[in-house]
Symmetry: C2
Subunit: 251 residues, 2 copies
Amino acid sequence: MKTIGIFYKPTLKDIAEKFKKDLLFEGFDVVYCNEKLLNIEVDLTLVLGGDGTFLKAAHKVKNPLVGFKGGRLGFLSSYTLEDFEKFLFDLKENNFVKDRRFFLKVEKFYSLNELLLIKDPTQKMLDIQVFFQDGSFYFHADGLIVSTPTGSTGYSLSLGGPILLPNVSSFVITPVAPQFLASRSIIIPDSEEVLIKLNQKSNLVLDGMGFGKVSEVKIKKSKKKIIILRPKDYDFSKSIKEKLGYGKKFL
Amino acid sequence: MKTIGIFYKPTLKDIAEKFKKDLLFEGFDVVYCNEKLLNIEVDLTLVLGGDGTFLKAAHKVKNPLVGFKGGRLGFLSSYTLEDFEKFLFDLKENNFVKDRRFFLKVEKFYSLNELLLIKDPTQKMLDIQVFFQDGSFYFHADGLIVSTPTGSTGYSLSLGGPILLPNVSSFVITPVAPQFLASRSIIIPDSEEVLIKLNQKSNLVLDGMGFGKVSEVKIKKSKKKIIILRPKDYDFSKSIKEKLGYGKKFL
């Protein structure tokens, strides 16, 4: 590992500069990756910011990522900004495990967290049909979300979905404000292709970004993935407990 | 296929006898399997009854099963009692796909649907710790359920859990009446071993049957499985729509 990229949330520019100085001192080449991915190949990209920043970086870079978050851990960050010394130690000792996260492929686009189909505020409710290998479901609802395990702690959770451990090989599908009682989530193997048909064009949103209006989309697991480097003593449940207060002992 | 067993819900004895007569007429040997599994090996067992009867049969026999339910489909039955002619046709044409369902192994016991740890009505709430590969969760709750995909449409669903398609390789864990807001389910790969520790002995219930009181259990996917024969045109989502009214078009 020789060249390290830094992708930072604009408000964390000062800390990015401090990280850069320390890395140069340790003998690494350092480049900032915020604007574009340059022509310089980096071996590893440090991401300074929350999960939103990490998501942006994940769409931009192909090399492994390490996340640093201010305050408490993020779901995608393994270190806090205060942990930089610990990171340097782990880097020198190669004290990492690789945490692979796959993207959804939605037609020709990619999404790390989720696909959301959602009506406009004054649009009528949608008739949504979801087709998979062994059948189909129908929902009359404001929309539908298909989330990866990575996305299951994001908007999918807000919509009532369960938490998928990162190493689960499934998607989770949840209708948004469905009519009648069909509000449960469905877990489907990520080896399946899912076809969704709407009775009227509506908004396609991938990782929070708009991709116009569609009346039909095909979804499958992509070969595209990111690799997050985690310290060997990393504990996934810790970020769930810290951020959500879920599964935590209250004293 | 030469010898066919019949396992029936006691109230369906007359229909079982009609099935037997028809099968004998078609040249098969037929044995009833209700009491014990005899010394006679059967090639296939027909189960007449609902999912409760099917569950009992699943614990008893090792050969493939075909379920027949009165009225509408069950989750485990692929035919209704009225479909016997269609079944005979499928049997002669070998028009089946094999639907494999794995058991949970809970210490030295087996469970097809779920493991439930639950306090007695007047017992204090339990402190429950769930350990898995990448961490642990803690719940202060009346109990906890660990369900297979097969069990996800049963008691796990009543407790707020999602629906897992039968070919999902995961368990779903849901606390029962947890304190604070930790009521979401967790999806965990079925390749993991789960250890559950309680602060006080409480009831272990597997597929609805009591197995005494425990303060600790280890759970993993068992190699033990059942094979359900389904007609090739079987559609899993149909039973969800028929039985739960979930994902169904209301006209």
